[in-house]
Amino acid sequence: MLDIAALSVTLPSKSGPIHVLRRIDLRLAKGEIHGMIGESGCGKTMTALTLLGLLPEGASVRAERFRFGTLDLSRHVASDLSALRGRRIALISQDPAAALNPVLTIGRQMDDVIRSHHGLAKGARRSMAVEILLATGLPEPEKLLKLYPHQLSGGMQQRVVIAQALATGADFLIADEPTTALDVTVGAQVLKLLRQLVETRGLTVLMITHDMDVVAASCDRATVLYAGISVEEGPVGRLLSAPRHPYTQALLAALPDAAPHGARLATVEGSIPPPTAALPGCAFAARCPFAMPVCASPPPLRQEAGHSWICHLEPT
């Protein structure tokens, strides 16, 4: 469905180029929920903006390979992608209350989406809205159409946002921290809904998150980003139980349930390299407990049973 190799995005600035994405590799099969994991500044959101064709003016985008479905976009990544936005690719953002227009009814907002993407007569648009709202697990959609966003709970609002994404006809959803603003139990229901929609409607979902619980509960495979670089990719079970990149290992060790009750949590010293820095070698070397002199050169790609990572360390 999506196959990206060595995607880089650079923004110009007065003090030199800003490398917001350095080397992103991302592959999603159709019908997959793929997690994109990383901390603030790792490039999760920039990758999403690239996919949505929403990069700021002047951004320089390069990729060795960039395929979306049967389309080869590697020559004109930015312009081609903005044409796909809303037709093939839709976004579910973190805060549903901000994604919905507070002064329009749900019915009006659903209708706007359906009219601009499908045309259709008024009655047909309405029944399509009702059908899609039902598919997202919202009870009494007829009644819901007359309500305003503030009259809904956060979980219901997020279902409406998902319904709008479906109404565009997009088959590739980017879910950017879709459960962060929701309560844990409500978030779990939203993840369940996404899984169900993947199965019934053949969707593909890129799930952007910093929350390993969300990844474990909802994703098939996941990619770990660090400083704008894909450092590890694999099936979620292996990634979480046997991480191979030292950064992924550090990230998992820092989780509160990784240590016995009350024991000190493992932390990573230092901070991520600034996006203005040139990184000729491994981006994590300065913070890595296993760093060696060779880490000053680009790390090799290693693979094992459908699991891949970049690191100078020999696999054990």
Partner: protein, 259 residues
């Protein structure tokens, strides 16, 4: 052992929004809890469960309809003016978002000096050193003092917020979602810092969060809130291993079934 906080049968009801609308259901329906000296109590619940109302009532920010709250044996509703201000020095508060709780216009030194000056400390040469010591205790070097809060990372800013809460040597720290705005690796650093402070200073803590796993790691005891009531309470180990309520299991069960 004296209780640092004791709450008995607390009922909180907010006033009706309009003249003709009915009063909303109570936000707290008879909550009782205690935090003893040196203990960390984790208070867990989702939005609307009443944890924020309980927190506000403990801090004396909203009135109780009935029930009693005592901090270090004192009932704050009986105090006013200077006596209340003095009593409040025993409680330090850390909020969720350090960028909202720290003024972006002040330097770190000014932020840390503010509670000391408000208490009536002299603006003398030792003030700078005391601010530096507070900062060092929270793991930041003295060269952060002239910086503005907006120039800090999230983790650094939260360390400053914790240092400010410690300025008046409180007996109780009230932590409202102190790590939920932070990245996982930074969260680990802050949780370690809180554990150190607790061990060094014998602080009592009331740690409020929706993330059961975060608080279970640092708390001695947990209380799970739902719909204005405490539905389950116990030692952290017990509650994690043998949750009695389905709701607690829900809070625990989501995710981390590491396949």
């Amino acid at each position: 052992m004296t209780d640092v906080v004791s709450v008995e049968n607390l009922v909180i009801r907010y006033p009706a929004r309009g003249l003709f609308t009915a009063r909303p259901a109570p936000a707290l329906r008879g909550v009782s809890l205690t935090v003893s000296s040196g203990e960390t109590l984790g208070l867990v619940g989702e939005s609307g469960s009443g944890k924020s109302s309980l927190l506000r009532a403990i801090l004396g920010l909203i009135p109780a309809e009935s029930g009693a709250i005592r901090i270090l044996g004192q009932d704050w509703s009986q105090l006013d003016g200077a006596a209340l201000r003095r009593a409040r020095q025993a409680v330090g508060v850390v909020a969720q978002n350090p960028f909202l709780s720290l003024s972006p216009r002040l330097s770190v030194a000014e932020i840390l000096a503010e509670p000391l000056l408000a208490r009536g400390d002299a603006h003398d040469a030792t003030l700078h050193d005391r601010c530096a010591a507070l900062l060092a205790r929270c793991g930041l070097p003295g060269d952060f003092l002239p910086r503005r809060a907006r120039a800090l990372s999230g983790g650094q800013a939260q360390r400053v917020a914790i240092a400010r809460a410690l300025a008046l040597e409180p007996k109780l720290m009230v932590l409202d979602e102190p790590t939920s705005a932070l990245d996982v690796s930074v969260q680990a650093q802050i949780l370690n810092l809180l554990a150190d402070l607790k061990a060094e200073m014998g602080l009592s803590m009331l740690f409020v969060t929706h993330n059961l796993k975060v608080v279970a790691h640092v708390a001695d005891r947990l209380a799970v809130m739902r719909r204005g009531e405490i539905i389950e309470t116990g030692t952290s180990a017990d509650l994690i291993e043998h949750p009695q309520q389905d709701y607690t299991r829900d809070l625990l069960g989501f995710g981390l079934r590491r396949r």
